[in-house]
Symmetry: C2
Subunit: 196 residues, 2 copies
DNA sequence: GTCTATATCATGATAGAC
DNA sequence: GTCTATCATGATATAGAC
């Protein structure tokens, strides 16, 4: 079903560095990760990192962009595979749940990291393209009469808020069971909250 | 209505430091804030900071604890002022919305900051006492028959997820209007999602 | 209790060999 | 393109005067 975004082509040094960065940034945080740490984890030298990237921030930006692009690709796939807003939004939640289980670190870094603290100039997650697309799905649902007419920000928060909250709980270790087990229930609640 | 938690008694040096820390931590982040920065903002010397606190981390911990204690006090107040789960949960959201408007930085630091990165040993927000209390409200609602019987984590995420999502949007500057304007609508959606 | 001045250390980033 | 060795910066934390 939802494949993890193809953010890495394994083997290449550049990609090894990005994978190592993802691992370290999510485990210890950006500021607790030194460039020598990244070099050790990626099994490359410090010099290589500075050859492929301008600086440490540049690694984080490349990582962030590749993750949000992968997410955006998943959303486009969903848009073509489903026609109604209900099906689309449900598919989004299913995809997010599966991605959280299969690429825990990617989700953690994408949704959770305080990018503004180390990526000045990058838009906050909330206004990133994937989140805008999700709001579009909801807006179209209102236009089609599937979803009650209301403020689109509130409707979008209601549809996806519960699922995102549960993802947070899962990433924090507060939720023991795999997220896909909860999909049907989460979706029922989410849809009830806004369905026409 | 919901007063900001009394996390500071203005005038005292110790409190001046905490207020300055809150301001700087939310504006630039913990790791982008140096102790001299804090000293300058608080109008005290570096030595004073190290006299009152063990180290920079200790300042962050004191800040975090005072904020969660203030929040917990608000929740206790709500528990005594309201009897039904519906009233309690609605009051919680109203309180969170007002607190976000009146003490933006406090909410940002409490809900948003990646505490694990600079406060090792502290539990994640999700499993902090306030969030547990909120889940208790929901559980009691199920016991009383107000809320459909279901997984309490899912029910709690559904009730509060939309509101928390909207708070995030507001803090990120994506939502222009004050949160209390949206309270009625948010609550209607939240309650529909789980009401018996 | 509060201050200034400073020791110590770790980090990001670079230079230059291979 | 990749590596090792090194530098310069800026941070934390402390010492010691007042």
């Amino acid at each position: 079903m939802a494949r993890p975004p193809a953010y890495v082509a394994p083997g290449q040094i550049r990609e090894r560095i990005i994978v190592a960065a993802l691992q370290l940034f999510t485990q210890r945080g950006y500021f607790n990760t030194s460039v020598p740490d990244m070099a050790r984890t990626a099994q490359v030298s410090v010099g290589s990192i500075y050859h492929h990237f301008k600086d440490k921030e540049d690694v984080a930006r490349a990582l962030y962009l590749s993750l949000t692009e992968g997410m955006q690709a998943e959303l486009s796939r969903i848009a073509t595979a489903h026609a109604t807003a209900g099906e689309r939004c449900r598919a989004v939640i299913a995809m997010l749940f599966e991605l959280t289980e299969s690429s825990r670190e990617a989700m953690d870094f994408m949704l959770y990291a305080k990018h503004r603290e180390f990526l000045p100039g990058e838009r906050p997650v909330c206004s990133s393209q994937p989140f805008e697309t999700m709001r579009d799905f909801v807006q179209q649902g209102m236009d089609r009469g599937e979803i009650r007419r209301m403020d689109v920000m509130v409707a979008s928060a209601s549809v996806f808020g519960g699922a995102l909250r549960l993802i947070t709980a899962r990433l924090d270790g507060v939720l023991a069971e795999p997220l896909p087990d909860k999909l049907d229930l989460v979706w029922e609640c989410a849809w009830r909250s806004v369905a026409a």
